[in-house]
Symmetry: C2
C-alpha cells in the first residue's frame, strides 16, 4: 500500500490492538521483572512492553509489510511508501507496574508526516478509543458509540487532567501549568494517554503535558480531533512530534489555556 | 443482629455493593449534574452518589434493620447493637465526573468501634476487593483470588501512590510527603481508595494521604490488613477515624515512612 485507505487501515489497527492485548494482558499484575532503560534516571520497561510491540509488528509484517514502523521498544523499521506506524506498546509503564489500570497501548498511522489514524486501548478494562479524519469511536464488549468532546469554552468550567504534577522539570513550565491548574474547575492526575481518550469521550476538557515523545502523542491526536477537540503545542503550533502538548475540547478553551501557557513555550 | 458474623456480614456487604453498582453505573459518563456541597470550596456530589447510598441503605433496611449507618450523603442513622455500616457511595466523585475509572464505592462494617469488614468496588471495571480479619479477596467476573501485599521493606524499593500532590494543604505536611516521595522508587497519583486496593493486591507498596474522613478510610483498613499490610496515622497510631493516613505493604516499610512523616504528624 502506498496510499491511505481509512477502512482497510482501521481494520489493520484493530487487528494490531487485538494481538497486543492478548500479548501483554497475561503479564499485568503478575509482578513482571522491571528493567531500567536509563542510566541517569528511571525509565522502566517490562516483558509486557516488548511482547505488546512484537505482537503489533507481527500483524504489520503480514498485512502491511512495506510500511515503516517506529516503536518505543524496537525503534525504527524503514518503509518507503510514505506510511509509518508509530507504536507505544505500553504508555504508562509505571502505572502498569503498580497494577493501576490507567496504562494504554497506542497505535498511530502516519501518512505524509501526519497522524491519520489513532488508537488508544486499555486491555484490562477492555476499552478502545479510535479516531480518523472526521470521526472517533469508543468500543467495549461488542458495543460502539461515537466520541464527542464537550462544548466547554471557559477555563473556569473546565475539568483538566495531566499525568503528573512533577512532569514539569523547568520552573517556568511548572509555573505556567500551575496558572492553568488554579484557573480550572478541577484537575485530576495519573492517567497518561487515557486522559486524552476521556477528553474525546467528553469527560475531561483539557489535558496539558510536557516532555512527550512522538510515540506518546501520535495516537491521541486523531482520537481527540476526530471527536471535535483540538491539539497543539504550547505555542499553538503542530504537536505531532511531541514535546509540550495541550489538548482541549474546543478551540475557545484552547485559546484560554494558550494565553497562560505561551510564556513557557519552548 | 447484635454480634458480628463474618460469613453473613460479608454476604450483606456483597448484596449492598451489587445494589449500589446497579444504581450508580447508569449515571457514569452521562454528564450528570454536579452540585457543590461547600460554600467556600468545591466538594462535588451527583445523583449517582445519592442513588448509590440509597441502594446500600435499602439492602440494610431489609437485611440488618437494627444496625447503625453512617453515610457520606445521608449522614447518621442510629443503631443500638454495637454495629455500624460506614458508607462512601462514591469515593472519588471528581474522577467520576471526569469519566475516569478510578472512583470506587466503599462499604465498611464497624463493630465495637473497629472496622471488621471492608469492601472496595469499582463498578465500571467490574472489580471488587473485600477484607475481613485474617483475609482479603479480589473478585471479578465470577473469579476470585486471595489478596496479598508484596514483601517490600525499603522505601528505595517501594511503589507509592497518593490521590493528589495538592492534597497536603499545610506546608509541613507537603514537605513530609515530599521527603517520602523522593525516597521511593516511583510514585503515581490519582486513584483515591483504589490505590489501597492495589496495595492489598501487591501492585503498590505505600499510600500516604491526609485530610481523610471516616467514610474514606474504614473500608480499606480491613482490605489492607486482611492482605497482610498495615495502616496507621502519621504517628503510628489508629487511623480508623481518618485524618493523616499511611498504609504499607509491611511493618518494616511503614516504619521507614513514619520516620519521615512523624515530624508533620498532627
Amino acid at each position: 500500500m502506498s496510499t491511505y485507505n481509512p477502512t482497510a487501515d482501521l481494520e489493520i489497527a484493530h487487528a494490531m490492538a487485538d494481538a497486543a492485548r492478548s500479548a501483554c494482558l497475561p503479564h499485568f499484575r503478575t509482578g513482571p521483572a522491571v528493567e531500567n532503560k536509563l542510566s541517569g534516571g528511571f525509565d522502566p520497561v517490562t516483558v509486557a512492553d516488548r511482547a505488546s510491540e512484537q505482537a503489533m509488528r507481527a500483524v504489520l509484517a503480514e498485512r502491511a509489510p512495506a510500511d515503516g514502523i517506529l516503536g518505543e521498544e524496537f525503534g525504527e523499521t524503514a518503509g518507503g511508501n510514505g506510511r509509518r506506524w508509530v507504536l507505544d506498546p505500553i504508555d504508562g509503564t509505571r502505572a502498569f507496574i503498580a497494577g493501576l489500570p490507567s496504562w494504554t497501548m497506542l497505535i498511530a498511522l502516519e501518512y505524509r508526516a501526519r497522524p491519520v489514524i489513532g488508537l488508544i486501548d486499555q486491555p484490562h478494562i477492555g476499552e478502545r478509543f479510535i479516531g480518523w479524519p472526521g470521526g472517533a469511536e469508543y468500543r467495549r464488549g461488542g458495543q460502539a458509540r461515537a466520541l464527542k468532546t464537550r462544548p466547554t469554552r471557559r477555563l473556569g468550567d473546565a475539568i483538566m487532567s495531566s499525568t503528573d504534577a512533577f512532569l514539569f522539570e523547568a520552573a517556568v513550565e511548572a509555573e505556567a501549568f500551575e496558572r492553568v491548574r488554579r484557573s480550572v474547575r478541577l484537575c485530576r492526575f495519573g492517567f497518561d494517554a487515557y486522559a486524552y481518550a476521556m477528553l474525546a469521550a467528553g469527560g475531561v476538557d483539557l489535558v496539558i503535558e510536557s516532555g512527550l515523545q512522538i510515540y506518546d502523542v501520535q495516537a491521541f491526536i486523531p482520537v481527540v480531533e476526530g471527536a471535535g477537540g483540538v491539539v497543539t503545542n504550547w505555542s499553538g503550533g503542530d504537536a505531532s512530534e511531541g514535546g509540550q502538548v495541550v489538548a482541549a475540547a474546543t478551540p475557545e478553551l484552547l485559546d484560554e489555556a494558550l494565553r497562560l501557557l505561551a510564556p513557557a513555550a519552548l
